[in-house]
Symmetry: C2
Subunit: 268 residues, 2 copies
């Protein structure tokens, strides 16, 4: 059965859709088959990214792999019991259609809703990207300095992840491997980066997640969206853009993420 | 009656809460009275920021102005008609309690819901921050290159803003002054910045918004969150952090935003 990777963070703009797309393309280029589900269908960033990729392939005949993609919209039914059932049916139908794939990747919204929580409950691996920022940190844990000591209280999103962990334990499923990944890292700002790094190490123990190497703030992570491409597609001749130091560094960052979540024996 | 500024963008992480806080503190320091409403109460970034500020004032006796703040949670009632009424009652009650203020600032969520749409309908000024990115642009307009020409189709968030504009026209209210502001601008990456700038100029005409000068990507915009402070508080002796080139530039960026939305005669 496919290994399921969920990319989640209730905090908006932490890099879920960006991380999802780069993960998906890496897996495809490793030769795996990949099914993708957009659980943030109304905003649809991942769906648009993949649509753009389809369009690029159709108009250029490029040899570029595209995942098998499904959008799952939130149920619009008013009755909350029925709407939850409908969410479950819609998600499970999409999963069934993609069940022959090696990997499934779910992109989730930057807000809390039943469909997103349901998606999280299926994670073998949960990847949570996060900006190097106290504002983003606040959704993982409230930080207070009490008598010179650091007090960390699990916050909204962490609580939700733990509820899914409990659910899975009750259902005797394998535990979620929770991986947190810093994103949009500044190439300067050493002090803030160090502070965030220390906080995340504390938090990793407290909330039982592990830290993966992150992505720097690099325009190459977003400028290829209109073509549906990523920097990983650029060693193919079809992409038509020249490589640079930043691209090489970005490529290594994506590779390190894959190694950290144990997805690329060959790449290691 | 108070002038109402709504900070909105359905796209997550575009900088709504950051922009809200810097706007609020600027207005307070100009001597205006400010009421603030967090319509993203579950995530509560703005509420937490203001809570931290309260705490800082209480523990240091600093002479630092704090806005009068309200959190408005989404109605949890299942019946959609009653839940919409409850949203309206909750928002209007908060507005009534703050009605003696010079300005009201509403922070809104990075997702679409009835409470957020309702909040948008009260805007005299709507400020939409946006990352310099095709992913963020996609929520304002779908961009397609058709026969060497740029085709711009209003996207989900723009459509919602236009619905609120139509509502206000029907109710004979004054039109919304829609201001879009680029945020987290890179200090390098000239080509992407130029491309985004051109797209936004086209879009401004098409969607009838104006472009305000934006904020650069600067750690000073986020590192003072734990103390509830902003760079604007730093010329006060209580803040305990030394100024730098980036702070001076950031201060000018905030001042330019205020001028652009016509809020600071004295500062101009
Ligand atoms: N490493 C990076 N370097 C440069 N830009 C990035 C990087 N990661 C993300 N971005 C940009 O940051 C913004 C937010 O990223 P993205 O849309 O992937 O986040 P998200 O968590 O999916 O947001 P939402 O909560 O709205 O779903 C986008 O404009 C994206 O292009
Ligand atoms: N100009 C800036 N410079 C540096 N960091 C910034 C800037 N603007 C925003 N940020 C950071 O970017 C992230 C997103 O900003 P913010 O939380 O204000 O966005 P938002 O639109 O309110 O997000 P949400 O959709 O989750 O409500 C935060 O980590 C914030 O600290
Ligand atoms: Mg997304
Ligand atoms: Mg916010």
């Amino acid at each position: 059965r496919p290994r399921i990777i969920v990319v989640g963070n209730e905090k908006g703009g932490s890099g879920k859709s960006t991380t999802s797309m780069h993960l998906i393309v890496s897996l495809l280029r490793e030769g795996f088959t990949v099914g993708t589900i957009d659980l943030d269908a109304r905003q649809g960033t991942l769906s648009r990214y993949i649509e753009n990729r389809q369009h690029f392939v159709q108009t250029t005949n490029a040899q570029i792999a595209v995942p098998e993609h499904r959008r799952v919209y939130r149920s619009a039914v008013e009755d909350s019991e029925i709407s939850k059932q409908e969410d479950r049916q819609n998600l499970e139908r999409a999963m069934e259609e993609l069940w022959d794939r090696d990997y499934l990747v779910f992109d989730t919204p930057g807000s809390d809703n039943h469909l997103s929580r349901l998606g999280h409950s299926y994670a073998d691996i949960l990847i949570t990207p996060l900006n190097d920022s106290f504002l983003d940190m606040d959704m993982l844990a409230k930080i207070e300095v009490v008598d010179d000591d650091l007090k960390l209280t699990p916050s909204t999103y962490s609580q939700m992840v733990w509820e899914q962990r409990q659910q899975r334990a009750i259902q005797r499923k394998r535990p979620i491997d929770w991986v947190v990944m810093r994103n949009r890292l500044s190439h300067i700002d050493a002090k803030n980066k160090r502070d965030m790094g220390l906080l995340l190490e504390h938090l990793a123990k407290r909330l039982q997640f592990r830290l993966a190497p992150g992505f720097g703030e690099r325009v190459i992570f977003r400028e290829l969206f209109p073509k549906g491409l990523t920097l990983l597609d650029l060693d193919s001749e079809d992409a038509g853009i020249s490589l640079s130091m930043s691209h090489v560094a970005a490529r290594q960052e994506v590779r390190s993420l894959l190694q950290a979540i144990g997805l690329s024996g060959e790449m290691a």
